[in-house]
């Protein structure tokens, strides 16, 4: 299968996402200015500071030409994963409900946190056991999830580990259709025991399993 990883000006974890995805499949870069998903089976909007996070995190990136294609792809049921800044972009683009607000600490926070898998039946978490704990780092200034409406929660911060004041300890959500997933933690930074943890690989493996099932059908 092929992952496409979007690269905006100011993306930082794009190479990391490409490398992580390449552990389970092919991975190609998708340039922000090109209306071309390069036949990707799943799209990753990576972390970083697209457009410097100026104005509001994700606010400017959502208007990049490639995002029109991503929206179309999502409407057709394609898998879209937004990590950190990618999550912010997907919320701003209304591909996911809710919004991300500044951490209650008002500080950037890097921390290895424990996550609880709330829904292990999504295309992004099917390699996880229900209730499984994943050790994955967060690093952001704007990660406090907020939504006035109920949302489909996929991952939560384990008790007492909420790093940002997120509503109901929400760490990751998906859309109603289940094909667009956003999370603040960085699974691409948890794919190698040497750098801390391999729990993030499960997200990439889930996507691969889902895509190959679909192809098989």
């Amino acid at each position: 299968m092929r992952f496409g990883v979007v690269r905006f000006p100011g993306s930082c974890d794009d190479i990391d996402a490409l490398q992580a995805a390449a552990r389970v499949g092919d991975a190609v870069e998708l340039w922000h200015a090109d209306r071309d998903l390069r036949e990707a089976d799943a799209v990753i909007i990576p972390g970083g500071f697209s457009y410097g996070d100026y104005l509001r995190a994700g606010a400017i990136a959502r208007f990049a030409p490639v995002m029109e294609e991503v929206a179309e792809f999502a409407r057709e049921g394609g898998l879209v994963l937004g990590i950190c800044n990618g999550f912010q972009v997907l919320c701003e683009a209304h591909l996911l409900p809710g919004a991300l607000l500044p951490n209650t600490s008002l500080r950037f926070v890097f921390r290895q946190v424990e996550l609880e898998v709330v829904d292990s039946a999504t295309p992004f978490t099917r390699a996880c056991a229900p209730g499984e704990r994943l050790s994955i780092p967060v690093k952001h200034t704007t990660g406090r999830f907020y939504s006035p409406e109920p949302v489909h929660v996929v991952l939560r911060y384990a008790p007492n580990q909420n790093p940002n004041g997120s509503q109901a300890d929400i760490a990751g959500i998906c859309n109603d259709a289940g094909n667009v997933f956003g999370l603040m933690p960085h699974p691409e930074h948890a794919v190698d025991a040497l750098t801390g943890s391999i729990d993030g690989l499960k997200i990439f493996e889930s996507i691969r399993a889902h895509v190959s099932d679909r192809v098989a059908v």
Partner: protein, 83 residues
Amino acid sequence: MRARVLIRPKQGILDPQGQAVERALPALGFDGISHVHVGRLVELDVDDPTQLPDICERLLSNPLIEDYEIVEEVPSHSAAEAS
């Protein structure tokens, strides 16, 4: 025309920046201050002011979490600068 857009956190949404200011004030010797909210100010020259509401809704603010207000229409930048 020079326009000024005020963007503030929607009521009911936690505003830690406002809280931080409120907490810091007594230590500096300022009392009697409350209900502090911190938002954004955007100022711009715009040829066609009828575009402004659209610009505010699509880019400058996120309507889910922020309200905006176009408060003022002042002479354009260059004029303002000269004054």
